[in-house]
Amino acid sequence: MIAATMAQGTVGCAGYLRVGADDVYHMIHAPAAAPRACVLLCGPIGGARERAHRTLVEVARALVNEGFGAMRFDFRGMGESGPGFERFTMTDWRADIAACAEHLRGLFPDSPVLLVGVQAGAVLASECFRDGVGDAAVFASPLVDGSAMLRDILRRQLMADMMAHPNSPRVQREEIVAALLRGAAYNIDGYFWTRGLWVDAAAHVLALPDPGEARPWWVADFAGLSRTVMVADTEPHRVSLQADRFWEPSAYLVPRETVFRDFVLGCARETAGRRRAA
């Protein structure tokens, strides 16, 4: 159920979208005229969410300046849609993407929708795209699956803990996993992980489209990170970006270059162009 509607005459709105029994905070950036295409920005989760926040704001503004619409949102349990992270799983967050895409489609029925997912958002966006959500998709630095993502975050957290408290007894990753599976909650990057999240994550695998997929899609690999595994036929969909990994801890609040922003703009143009040609 949509709890916030767009007022006539305004250029955009911020509000809450009802998903299940909870609300998804979102912000829509829209140009004065009908948008050429709309971009749904699906960010990362956990601590990476706040680090990526301002970059995605900048991307949204750049899109509006080019005549595109953009929608940003916080997954349930995080940011403005929080607190209560421990109540949600990746399945819930996938539903958030689907609900936001539907909301965007309802607001701008004549504009194609481009899904842009970053890290966890990319895995979830790929599942939605496979299920027919969106007219095009960008998967930025996607992970193999939800489990790999959580294990990677856990590894980084343990390294940080080890350096911050060198004299504390070492905790192994598998001990934490075992504790999670027994039902204990564990604070990772400021959010309490649960058994539900851990078990559910394994079911979420990066779903890259088949070579025959007619809708445009791209995988954006970032320099310094391992390349996404893709079948040979889909290699033309890969783009390697020499860009800052804006979701990682850094002294920079926004990327030092405009590579990612320009790439998303290019994808949005192509999405709009294909729709027009069709």
Partner: protein
């Protein structure tokens, strides 16, 4: 309680905020929280959301605001954390915060406000309160950082447009050559300091010996002066520090230099957490300390109500 998106127009800039309103009659004193460093208004790992929800359950309305260039608000983004930090110390947010507090009082029926934040948010709160104390009922300082940035210096101030000159290479070189800067760096939380954690107690001892027991040499004196001015007016402060962090090490010595204000300040030290209060149960403990202090100062308000977020969801304009 309900949660709504609110909007402030300050000096031509659109700012976004979130208002947590209690069920029933709200206290006449509201709480305003300013961005924790450059993080969005939800706070690091949603710290502010927890605090605001906790206060709303006690009958206190709480407004979390994104300052210009941060979170969802308009304005150019700051390129680096250091840029933001330097500008905050020079007062880039002062006039904005004063305007936001005035609008919050006027629009949301609060007679007075308590203003606060974590780290840089605390600095902006102290500075704004010292400049325009009318209508301010208290300061809520979470992990306030009283250390002066070497590049800011006492002379650097925001100009009329609110910007501060960026650090010159020469001052950066000064910092590179300064022993205390290196000691602070190695005793801090940055990645470069992590391999030297085992040296931390020794570094602290050396720092204490070098700096002495008066006001720390690299203390932001402007900020201390602002804070003492606030104390002199009888405005109370809550300070929440994480054990072993910089604010914990500085706070006693700062309070010693302003004895008149000591009775106005309540200090709480949280153990097992970090500077941004995300480790351990830092968020929960901070929210409890804030609520406890509020109850002591202002007493209980409306009874706790069931959460009904979304019922008060609003639609607001967004600049394209």
């Amino acid at each position: 309680m309900s949660r709504t998106v609110v909007q402030f127009e300050v000096m031509g800039t659109t700012l976004f905020g979130t208002r947590h309103a209690p069920q029933g009659q709200a206290d006449t004193t509201a709480c305003v929280l300013l961005n924790p460093g450059p993080a969005p208004r939800a706070g690091n790992s949603d710290l502010y959301v927890q605090i605001a929800d906790r206060l709303a359950r006690e009958g206190v309305q709480c407004i979390r605001v994104d300052l210009p260039g941060l979170g969802d608000s308009a304005g150019p983004s700051y390129p680096t954390i250091d840029d933001y930090w330097r500008q905050v110390q020079a007062g880039v947010n002062d006039r904005t915060v004063i305007a936001v507090l005035a609008q919050a009082r006027e629009r949301f029926g609060a007679q007075r406000v308590v203003v606060g934040g974590l780290c840089a948010g605390a600095i902006s709160a102290v500075r704004a309160c010292a400049r325009a104390p009318d209508g301010i009922a208290g300061l809520m300082l979470l992990e306030p950082n009283f250390r002066r940035s070497a590049e800011t210096g006492p002379a650097a101030q925001a100009d009329e447009s609110g910007t501060v000159p960026t650090g010159k290479p020469s001052t950066r070189w000064c910092r590179v050559l300064d022993v205390d800067s290196w000691l602070h760096l190695l005793a801090g939380d940055r990645a470069i300091a992590r391999p030297f954690r085992w040296l931390r107690p020794l570094i602290h001892r050396v720092l204490t010996r070098r700096i002495g027991h008066a006001l720390p040499r690299d203390c932001n004196e402007d900020l201390v002066v602002c804070w003492s001015r606030v104390h002199a007016l009888g405005i109370p402060s809550l300070v929440v520090c994480a054990e072993g962090q910089l604010s914990h090490r500085y706070i006693d010595r700062i309070l010693r230099t302003i004895p008149a204000g000591r009775s106005q300040v309540q200090c709480r030290v949280l153990s097992g957490t970090n500077h941004i209060l995300t480790a351990g149960h830092g968020r929960r403990d901070a929210a409890e300390e804030v609520a406890r202090w509020w109850m002591q100062r202002h007493g209980a308000c409306a009874p706790a109500g069931a959460a009904s977020r979304g019922a008060g969801a609003t639609t607001v304009s967004v600049p394209a």
